[in-house]
């Protein structure tokens, strides 16, 4: 049985060589996997909102911008090289129509757009994604192989 490491909401975990990083039931949130195949180093980040804004919120992994920057900083400390990193994303669904979302509109969509924009600004490109629609997704990164899969209710498991 492979070791499973669970990543919560507004959370990030890094591991190397072996183990499966898993984050459950992403709704409007986004799961972002980072993998350096050369040294078999993987990270899985689960963000909830597109931008940190001006507030002094200490929960860095809650936001796409601060979450991605912090993950990249940690990965580099663990020896990852940016040009080898493979990034994949899942989530960003619209579970319900929300009017009063504080001007956020479709949070899932905004999350997905912002994640891609930030990754691009970091010189990283999204190798594969499964985003949007109206259902939740569980995302897994197998650190021994770099394979990323997504499972959701009533649909076959999908490899990204």
């Amino acid at each position: 049985m492979e070791k499973k490491i669970s990543v919560g909401i507004a959370d990030m975990k890094i591991t190397r060589q072996e183990g499966i990083l898993i984050t459950y039931a992403l709704g409007s949130c986004i799961g972002i996997s980072f993998y350096d195949p050369m040294i078999k180093l993987g990270a899985l980040l689960h963000i909830m909102l597109p931008e940190k804004g001006r507030g002094n919120d200490s929960n860095i992994y809650k936001f796409a911008d601060s979450g991605i920057h912090e993950t990249l900083r940690k990965l580099s400390a663990y020896g990852a090289t940016k040009r080898r990193l493979v990034c994949k994303i899942a989530g960003g669904a619209k579970m319900f129509e929300m009017k009063g979302a504080g001007g956020l509109g479709n949070i899932g969509e905004r999350n997905a757009q912002n994640v891609k924009r930030i990754l691009m600004a970091e010189g990283l490109h999204v190798a594969s994604e499964d985003t949007g629609a109206n259902y939740a997704r569980t995302m897994l990164l197998d650190v021994s192989t770099g394979k990323v899969s997504v499972r959701s209710a009533g649909r076959p498991e999908r490899f990204l």
Partner: protein, 206 residues
């Protein structure tokens, strides 16, 4: 003193919320009771203030499929009201209303979805009506929406809304029993912090 975050609430304020939950829940149970033509009770409400991950743990397996009826509150109060029904509960409702047994949760027929939506609608509106008349606040409700999906994904909606200003969410919860049978369900009222101040002010607690 104004409440600036959920954690700051004192015992008296928490008791008031429990009272609101109890009156709202009682009304909601009565509404469900006449709809299902059965004896429906609601448990004593709890007021819980939890971090995002703790809130999911509280609700069980994040991948569990549930039926959720979602309503947004606006006006003097803002926040979300959710009725979360397990498959077992939804089957009970569909059996009592339509005589159906073991429907396919992910491929519900239109009539099944309408019945679940209407159940949620009636239960939520009775809850809010009772709360509004007790506290004398104006609350408008959005058109209800139904989603059948993983409970973790469902909860991302209120969490992303509250998460903009808080690392915790507050839920006033209650569970229904039908004819003495405890079926897993959650009635969740999720007000934002500002709304708590409105409620307290209206009730003369400051």
């Amino acid at each position: 003193m104004a409440i600036k975050s959920y954690e700051e609430m004192n015992e008296l304020e928490m008791d008031i919320l429990k009272e609101i939950g109890s009156i709202g829940g009682g009304n909601a149970a009565t509404a469900m009771s006449s709809m299902l033509n059965a004896k429906v009770n609601m448990s004593l409400p709890k007021v819980v203030i939890l971090g995002f991950n703790e809130a999911l743990d509280y609700l069980g397996d994040p991948e569990e499929l549930v039926a959720a009826i979602f309503v947004e509150m606006s006006g003097e109060l803002s926040g979300i009201m959710l009725l979360i029904l397990t498959k077992e509960f939804s089957d009970e409702v569909l059996f009592r209303m339509l005589g159906k047994v073991d429907s396919d949760f992910l491929e519900l027929e239109e009539i099944d979805s309408s019945v679940l939506m209407e159940t949620g609608n009636i239960v939520i509106s009775s809850y809010i009506t009772a709360m509004a008349s007790l506290t004398n606040v104006n609350v408008e409700l959005s058109v209800p929406q139904l989603a059948i999906n993983m409970v973790g994904g469902i909860m991302s909606a209120p969490m992303s809304l509250m998460g903009q200003h808080s690392d915790r969410i507050m839920m006033i919860t209650g569970q229904f029993t039908i004819d003495g049978k405890a079926l897993d369900s959650e009635m969740l009222l999720l007000p934002d912090v500002e709304s708590l101040n409105v409620l307290m002010k209206k009730l003369g607690v400051e």
